[in-house]
């Protein structure tokens, strides 16, 4: 009997791990691409937050208007707002060439403020959090014995691991755009001299990257929670910044990083519920972040940052 309970526990844990890792994977790939072009986008936390809010707001209002694909409208809205914030970041860091730390933190402050303001404007101050009927989980292999629950996932989780990840790898290493992207982030002078439009590559990448961050945020409000709250992102954006370094700017390693964080997160939830020992639950809450720091400390030494990291490109 104990064995059976353990298997159930493990299967549940794995399923939850994939769920928790999904938004991280979207946003980490977004940040990874952005950084590969030579730009650090610290706007990630705010863009995820804004993506979560815009996605939820549009979905909620569309649902009120009884539009059938309200969740997809929300997701589309999140993508659009992500693209806009990415272009804004590109304007600051690529066109104006301002300090990327300041520009990114500015984007986070702006996005956070906009989302909170919009939330108050649209939903007022009610004591009950507004909610929607979120994306349903697919159960493709639902009747599979024992392992079934692992495959009970949202469509977006399947998209993240089966579509986005291979696509991100292929795009980076096997396409013209990927080659230009890698060279622009390593040595923009060389890319420029080879006839690559450095500014265009960075603009496109920053916009795409931020759209992925926004999708990551929207996953939380549209799929996992079906609601929006001020604490919805809870530092996941900052975790993604660490995961990119952990990943050494490689999409496949980024997946392992996202799974590691997701795994610890899912585990601590279960440890809290088990009520096994007399440890305050705050410790469990902090656990994934501590593990992130530890993993980064172990894997993040002597990493080769992109050559043009944090540098704006100017033709002398």
């Amino acid at each position: 009997m104990i064995e059976a309970a353990f298997v159930t526990f493990l299967v549940g844990l794995l399923g939850a791990t994939l769920r928790v890792a999904t938004p991280l994977l979207f946003a980490t790939i977004g940040e990874l691409y952005t950084e590969r072009s030579g730009v650090l986008n610290l706007g990630i936390e705010g863009i995820m937050f804004l993506g979560a809010f815009v996605g939820f707001a549009i979905a909620a209002k569309s649902a009120e208007a009884e539009l059938a694909g309200y969740l997809w409208l929300g997701l589309g809205g999140a993508i659009v707002v992500g693209l806009i914030m990415g272009l804004l970041m590109a304007f600051f860091s690529v066109t104006l060439g301002v300090n990327q730390h300041v520009a990114g933190l500015g984007i986070t402050l702006l996005s956070t403020g906009l989302a909170l303001f919009g939330f108050r404007m649209i939903f007022g101050q009610s004591s009950v959090l507004p909610s929607i009927e979120p994306f349903a989980q697919l159960s493709i292999f639902g009747d599979l014995p024992i392992l079934g629950p692992i495959f009970e996932q949202y469509l977006l989780t399947y998209v993240a691991f089966i579509v986005l990840l291979p696509l991100a790898w292929w795009l980076l290493y096997r396409t013209n755009y990927g080659l230009e992207l890698r060279s622009v982030g390593e040595n923009p002078e060389a890319a420029d001299a080879a006839g690559v439009n450095v500014f265009r590559v960075r603009y496109i990448t920053l916009a795409l990257g931020a759209a992925l961050m926004a999708i990551g945020g929207a996953f939380l409000s549209l799929a996992q929670l079906g609601a929006f709250s001020p604490g919805i992102i809870a530092g996941r954006g900052w975790v993604c910044i660490a995961l990119v370094i952990f990943a050494k700017w490689d999409p496949i390693r980024a997946m392992w990083g996202a799974l590691l964080f997701g795994g610890v997160f899912a585990l601590q939830l279960r440890l809290q519920l088990l009520d096994l020992v007399d440890i305050p639950f705050e410790f469990f809450l902090a656990l994934p972040y501590l593990v992130t720091i530890a993993a980064l400390a172990l894997a993040g030494r002597n990493v080769a940052y992109p050559g043009a990291y944090l540098k704006a490109y100017r033709r002398e």
Partner: protein
């Protein structure tokens, strides 16, 4: 030359602020010729070529390529009309492979077929006779190999005009020879080459014609066969040069002042940068340290001025042990340093006067407060003595390279150091300033200083040094009197061939 022109640049005018970098310059390049663009630093050679390659935009003037007016707004446009450029600092992306670097910006279709790309690069390598390894990572290649990748990159884009910006500056003599052979062969295949240089002997060897630029103006175009190095030098500087000459070639008999015994040190990555370095420099002697950039020269200079820790061995100045005692005590022991990067040894935002006092601030303070009057007088005295074109209050970043170097020289030499560690003292300086700096070093030698001259410019070492040591991968390959040092032998040593195999 009766062949048609590949490139015609007419009345090219370009200003940077108040500086006219290119003053209505005309430049004609024939098809199938190697054409030198000669001039001092700041004469406008690179500016002109950056305009041709679309990296700068001329304020006025026109460019004609193969008889047709061309609008070159970016490198992409230049590539499209068959112009390629190999810059001084290679425009390569080190973590990428040779193939990826070559096809970058020049691919068809969205997806890259790597196998096909490797094959095409290998094919081009074969066709043009430029050997490269398609799958190698550029970061693992030597400087000479990287240059070949650059050349192949241009040829792969069907360049029929190749601009080479000081291509020999980073090469050892043997690599230079290889390069010249390749260029000669490519020229026979119909390639036109613009060869930017300020080295007269190379220009005489490899080119068909020479265009000299001086202060942003065209000072004339001549056939190489009908000119001579002195004539070219005259055209470059607009006057007769008076090269510095060192007196007496016989080795110094002075006492040993600077002594390194089996010194070892690590580089910034924690890898061995210096191995078992043993050197002695006598009073009144210039020891020239020759070597290709990145073979431990920087680390050696840092070890000697006290900014890098020695992991083994001993450094002595007149029998005082100065191993790992820190920069302050090293200076107190009589060591003066003129570092490789002059911008690193001055504080850009401080004035000339303040920079001149920087290494000995305690002498310009009273109870910890700077004495402005002493500071000013000290600066005025040095400015007059060293003919520095600046006033004491000028921020040092506004000075030209030559004047900045003079400030550093003044700061060091006024103390009559017993040991002078000087690295790349004339890099980036024009002929006048170079002469001045070299003259000052020789003057110190006459006064009995022991000078360690670290330079990547072999001509400079041959001109100044009494004794020459060659460093390769952190090891001293050989030490020989300057009189016995032939360029070829030094070249072999610099590329790591052991002394006993070089033959005497």
């Amino acid at each position: 030359m009766d062949r048609p022109n590949a490139i015609e640049m007419r009345h090219i005018y370009k200003r940077f602020g108040s500086l006219v970098a290119s003053d209505h310059v005309n430049f004609m390049l024939c098809q199938g010729e190697i054409h030198a663009l000669l001039g001092e630093n700041g004469a406008g050679k690179t500016t002109l070529m950056r305009i041709l390659y679309g990296l700068y935009h001329a304020d006025s003037g026109e460019i004609v390529v193969n008889g047709q007016a061309a609008e070159i707004k970016s490198p992409k446009d230049a590539i499209a009309v068959g112009i390629g450029m190999v810059t001084q600092h290679f425009a390569l992306v080190p973590p990428l492979t040779v193939t990826e670097n070559i096809i970058l910006g020049y691919t068809d279709g969205f997806q890259i077929n790597l196998n096909e790309a490797h094959r095409r690069v290998a094919e081009a390598s074969e066709k043009f006779g430029i050997p490269v390894e398609p799958k190698a990572l550029v970061k693992d290649l030597s400087v000479g190999q990287r240059q070949r990748v650059e050349i192949l990159k241009a040829l792969y884009r069907n360049a029929n005009v190749l601009i080479m910006d000081e291509p020999t500056a980073v090469l050892v003599p043997q690599e230079v020879e290889q390069l010249f052979e390749s260029l000669e062969r490519l020229r026979r295949q119909g390639l036109s080459v613009i060869f930017i240089s300020h080295k007269l002997n190379e220009v005489m060897t490899i080119t068909d014609r020479v265009t000299v630029l001086r202060l942003g103006e065209n000072a004339g175009t001549v056939e190489t066969q009908s000119t001579s190095p002195p004539e070219l030098a005259r055209m470059m500087v607009g006057r007769e040069t008076f090269g510095v000459t060192k007196t007496a070639g016989k080795p110094s008999q002075g006492k040993i002042v600077l002594e390194l015994a089996q010194v070892a040190a690590l580089d910034n990555k924690g890898l061995p940068a210096l191995k078992n370095i043993t050197l002695q420099v006598r009073a009144g002697e210039i020891l020239g340290l020759a070597g290709v950039s990145g073979n431990g020269q920087t680390e050696l200079a840092q070890v000697l001025d006290g900014t890098r820790l020695v992991t083994a061995g001993q450094i002595k100045v007149l029998n005082h042990d100065i191993t790992n005692v820190g920069p302050e005590k090293v200076m107190a022991a009589g060591v003066g340093r003129i570092p490789e990067d002059r911008h690193e040894s001055v504080v850009a935002e401080l004035s000339v006067a303040q920079n001149m006092a920087l290494e000995h601030l305690d002498e310009f303070t009273r109870q910890g407060v700077l004495n402005k009057k002493t500071l000013l007088e000290h600066a005025k005295k040095l400015i007059a003595e060293y003919q520095i074109k600046a006033s004491p209050g000028d921020k040092i970043r506004t000075l030209s390279g030559g004047n900045m170097q003079k400030v550093i020289l003044a700061r060091v030499l006024e103390r009559n150091p017993q040991v002078i560690i000087v690295a790349q003292p004339t890099r980036g300086l024009d002929v006048g300033a170079t002469e001045y700096v070299r003259g000052k070093l020789l003057e110190q030698r006459r006064k009995g200083a022991a000078i360690l001259l670290i330079s990547e410019d072999l001509d400079e070492i041959l001109e100044l040094a009494d004794t020459i040591a060659v460093i390769y991968e952190g090891e001293i390959m050989d030490i020989l009197p300057a009189a016995a040092a032939e360029t070829e032998r030094l070249g072999l040593l610099m590329s790591g061939v052991k002394a006993d195999k070089v033959g005497a």
